[in-house]
Symmetry: C2
Subunit: 173 residues, 2 copies
């Protein structure tokens, strides 16, 4: 069985949508997702970048994210065909660890605790395929690399691109 490594934020979880939600709760302005295109993660909002930076440290930021459309169904199928690992660089946000684990239990109940990895640097993991939204996570990986489209990675062109979970399914199933 080939090993497939999948990221959480902005791959199976709508982290960008959560930044938009928290921004709206804080400042009363609903930002269009497209307006964040070609900006670094957490950038592209009208103002208050210093406050936005703090959103991931807030309670329930990770717990209440929406799964990306199609990720649950496709992951369930991938789980039968691949040795599947969900690998998240979560160590930067200590309070996220418990929330991320709960979130996975809630939305991906078919995954076991043996398939979950929270790390700092993803250079430590190895496998056959990696799907991630950040090129610095893909960079040091030994297997085949796929960038999952997010507003902050539209300029990345050195990796195969997957735009949505339909495309992930078409590629891997």
């Amino acid at each position: 069985m080939k090993r497939l490594i999948i990221d959480m934020d902005d791959v199976i979880a709508d982290a960008t949508g959560q930044f938009i939600n928290f921004y709206e709760m804080e400042f009363g302005i609903r930002v269009e997702r497209e307006s964040l295109n070609h900006q670094d993660e957490g950038h592209g909002f009208p103002a208050h970048h210093d406050v936005i930076k703090q959103f991931p440290y807030r309670e329930k930021f990770f717990l209440t994210m929406t799964p990306n459309s199609g990720s649950q169904e496709v992951l369930k199928q991938l789980n039968k065909k691949y040795e599947l690992f969900v690998v998240s660089a979560a160590m930067e946000f200590p309070q996220s660890l418990y929330e991320k684990l709960e979130w996975l239990k809630n939305h991906f109940p078919f995954l076991t605790w043996k398939q979950i990895v929270f790390c700092g640097s993803k250079t430590i993991v190895h496998g056959d395929y990696m799907i991630d939204d950040l090129s610095y996570n893909l960079e040091g990986f030994n297997g085949e690399k796929f960038i999952y489209t997010a507003p902050h990675n539209l300029e990345v062109n050195q990796y195969s691109r997957l735009n949505n979970w339909k495309e992930v399914g078409d590629k891997f199933l």
Copy 2:
């Protein structure tokens, strides 16, 4: 720089000692460490195995462990010479994640969050050397494997053995 992967429980943290402490708090009997030799982890106590099994789920079980003697000084030196990762199979105990991270900050402040990995199965990590007390963690590892002596692994003989942190230092520094 060679990558050195080090386990937490019963390698840098005295997990066996913590089982003894919790047993004493619960049942008023201080068990001799040597009496646990050649028994599986959490076994070898006079009675109440069903209660002992629950200790790792209790608050502060991981947070209040004592670092193994010499581990702090030797790890500090290793950290200059190796690409060091602390990898713990912590996912089985969700409440341990935050406690383990706090514990590392308290006792190994020279480690950064980029060097910490909490996983379920250690087959996902790769490197040059791994030090662990459990042979099933070492089994699938691609690099050189070292078993760190604990009461439950005295019969393991297929890996190089390290009995204490003095020996780890002698071998790797």
